[in-house]
Amino acid sequence: MSTSNKTAAKKGGVISGLLHNQICIPLAALLALVIFNLVMDPSFFEIKMGYSSAGDPVLSGYLITILDNASELVILAIGMTLVTAASGGQDISVGATIAIAGSVVLRVLCGTESRPDELQAPIFVAFLICCLVAMLFGAFNGVLVSYFNIQPMVATLILFTAGRSIAAWINNNELPIIDDAVFGYFGNFIPGIPIPTPIFIAVACMILIALTLKFTTLGLYSQAVGINPHSSRLNGIDPAKVKLITYIILGLCVAVAGFIKVSRFSTINYSVVAKDIEMDAILAVALGGNALSGGKFNMGASILGAYVIQFLTTTLYKFNVVSSALPAYKAVVVIILVVLSAPVVRQKLNEIFKKFNERKTAEKPTDGPNKGAKEAA
């Protein structure tokens, strides 16, 4: 509309553009963590060749650990972002349903024995059944939320409470252990490949969701439903169905994450596996600058948010923070990040930046393009 504004926007340059972009929050957090580690101990970023427990040469180092350990969180963050966008609430049962998913995998692989000498079913069958079960549980949450109009937090509280008992019950409260090298590949290394497999799985999930968002209208629909269900309905979208679908997709994410988890350890501890992961997943969404009340979302920012959280966790571990104190430290960092990403604060930052920029322009009186634009306006 007005030329001078456009030139100003261009002049504001990359930084101002970034400040407007959602992805700047997790990016800034990542940058801060990187700088902190660089200053404290540059060896943090070293990547060496080491040996896996199986004796194969593999890459090792903190960065690899972060990428590896973040995999489950990243996968969950994908589903959580969609659920948040469409239903304006979060699923707090993902940790518990990961226990269920993992338990199902073990149950299928072990059959009736708890420590079978050989697998009782092919691994991919176990994986498929685990997907099916997790999606059913996702659908259970989804139906409560979309057709019974129960608030997501309340609806998913049911499985949050009951999930781990259900997981234990699936295996008759036993702790099956699987002694199969191939099964371990998914959570550790594939012989000959020096990069942890979960990283590949996470990347595959990212590609999958990117394709889904590109080749279907899932993104548009879930945002529209989250922003205004009334007008979405009048435009022919079925808000309940869209919400349900997002919960089922989250179920699928839970299945994959659960599968990686049991593959890592070849066994399961019902009460500990993926403990508190729901909070990290929700945090990843929030850190990505997505409104937890639903509506517009940025998938890339959520994913980056998940990596940032894992980066933080690993950094804290490195500095020998005892694991019981970990949440307290995390909380402090989270408060800072969330406050910084609040719109009010961002606007203030923007203003300060703008003033700074103006002063810089004022110092240069021969300012060609700006002057010309003013005359044109």
Binding site: M1, N5, A9, L220, I227, N228, R233, N235, G236
Partner: protein, 503 residues
């Protein structure tokens, strides 16, 4: 400050990213006057009001209030309220899930304890004195938009104020309610209150206002005493050009009526929905523009909602092109080529945080199906096309629709349905909040669609507008169809008589 002024705004500037919404605007409001603020959609009227009442911080300029020497700083609506400015914003800003009484007193009760009984009683008295058909303990969401708007007005006038601001308060009111509001405004004026009044209805301006300030493209055009600015001049000041002759369109319209003997495109019999209307019959032919008329709450919106499947359909039969169809949800209607522009723009129309582009392609996208998303380039092309066609004022296609001015939001929703290329388009109050120039464009558009062989149902509170566009009017009273007027009978008097029930 000038003699007798209660409010002076000097050199007000306000920029949004990509838009200069206000540039160096002056505005003066005097004691005991009703002052109209006029301008096209997106001229900056609402922005001026929001700057004045502290919703937006201003980028430049001063605001003076009578009795204070220094410029006042208003940084929140609460501040504005405290210094005696009460406001009815263009978009209803009440809380739909609170009761009527709660909405009227929210933010005004002192201390932590409130006597709800007293408040309900007091609200009841105010509602009664304004003859608003709502009970204090009723949930606001269950009231029609007109009633909600009246409640917002009641809230504003009940506060002791020196300045009253009304941003398009009449857009969803019918004549009787407008008359009530005008009486109220005159009473307040007599008490010395300065009233700032925004409307797109010229008749209303000339009925109650003393003075007019005109804005165009965020700049001040001028301030005029009402007697010095005849209608035609006002319009050309607003548009910056002369307006097409109003009578021209009527003639075009009359040529249309002949075509409407074609086969019915849609025929409904004994249709009834859960919104409380009596079963009704309805038919529309190819190339016809017809309309529902009646007082607010007479059920005209509910009828079209039933046709579109927007409310739960309880019974009846719908035939399209002679074949029986089942429409139980909006999606079904869309599949059969029906489009519906809803009455309540904010609640049912826009998807606020989504971009103008996504809002335009939404319905078309749904019809294409979830597996065929429009590519970015395609969407961009459609958006650009309709932004140009309807002259939508927006910084870019990327702008969230909620940042557009009210009238421009309405145009986006219209674009959305035009893009689906419907065979039958239902327009419920399509010109609400639309400026006079565009209003005529939209009326012409309805007639042009009919000329192309489409069918249009047009609902409007303005009988004038209906007469100009429709060749057949279905009259409703008390949620029942009570008559149908065509040809010779299409006169203002006849319609009024049918609405009132005295033949």
């Amino acid at each position: 400050m000038q003699e007798g002024a209660v409010l002076e705004m000097r050199g007000i500037c306000k920029h949004f990213p990509g838009v200069k919404a206000l540039q160096d605007v002056d505005f003066t409001l005097r004691e005991g006057e009703i002052h109209a603020l006029m301008g096209e959609n997106g001229a900056g009227k609402s922005t001026l009001i929001k700057v004045l009442t502290g919703v937006y911080p201003k980028d430049g300029g001063q605001i003076y209030i009578a009795g204070k020497d220094a410029p006042v700083k208003i940084s929140s609506p609460q501040d504005a309220q405290n210094i005696g400015i009460s406001t009815v914003y263009q978009e209803i800003t009440l809380c739909a899930n609170l009761t009527v009484a709660e909405n009227m007193f929210i933010g005004r009760t002192k201390g932590a304890f409130t006597k709800w009984k007293d408040i309900n009683e007091r609200a009841g008295r105010i509602l009664e004195s304004l003859q608003i058909p709502a009970s204090p303990t009723q949930q606001l969401a269950s009231c029609s938009i007109a009633v909600q708007q009246m409640v917002a007005i009641a809230r504003a006038v009940d506060m002791e104020c020196k300045i009253l601001i009304l941003d398009e308060p009449t857009s969803s009111l019918d004549e009787q309610e407008v008359a009530k509001l005008f009486k109220l405004m005159r009473d307040l004026k007599a008490k010395g209150v300065g009233i700032l009044f925004v409307t797109h209805f010229l008749d209303q301006v000339y009925e109650v206002c003393d003075r007019i300030t005109v804005l165009r493209d965020g700049k001040l055009v001028g301030e005029y005493a009402i007697e010095n600015l005849p209608r035609v001049q006002l319009v050309s000041k607003m548009l910056g050009k002369e307006l097409d002759d109003l009578s021209e369109i009527k003639k075009e319209g009359e040529g249309e009526t002949v075509v409407s003997d074609g086969a019915p495109v849609l025929q409904a019999s004994k249709l009834v929905s859960d919104a409380g209307i009596k079963p009704f019959d309805f038919a529309i032919r190819k190339g016809e523009v017809n309309g529902f008329t009646g007082l607010l709450g007479s059920g005209r919106s509910e009828c079209v909602r039933a046709i579109f499947g927007a409310d739960k359909v309880l019974g009846g039969q719908v035939m399209m092109d002679g074949e029986k169809v089942r429409i139980t949800k909006p999606r079904d209607a869309m599949k059969h080529g029906i489009g519906y522009l809803p009455e309540d723009r904010k609640q049912d129309g826009i998807v606020g945080d989504l971009s103008v582009r996504d809002n335009i392609i939404l319905a078309m996208q749904v019809m294409q199906g979830p597996m065929k998303p429009a590519s970015r380039a395609q969407a961009e092309k459609f958006a650009d096309e309709y932004i140009a066609l309807l002259d939508i004022k927006t910084a870019s296609t990327e702008t969230p629709i909620k940042q557009l001015s009210g009238g421009n939001q309405q145009k986006v929703i219209l674009a959305r349905w035009l893009l689906t290329d419907p065979v039958y388009l239902i327009l419920d109050e399509p010109t609400r909040g639309i400026d006079i120039g565009t209003k005529i464009e939209i009326q012409k558009l309805a007639l042009k669609l009919a000329e192309e062989g489409k069918s249009v149902t047009f609902i409007s509170s303005e009988i004038d507008e209906m007469l100009r566009t429709c060749s057949r009017l279905i009259v409703m009273r008390d949620r029942k169809v009570v008559g149908e007027l065509t040809g010779e009978d299409l006169t203002q008097n006849k319609i009024m008589a049918t609405i009132a029930g005295g033949e």
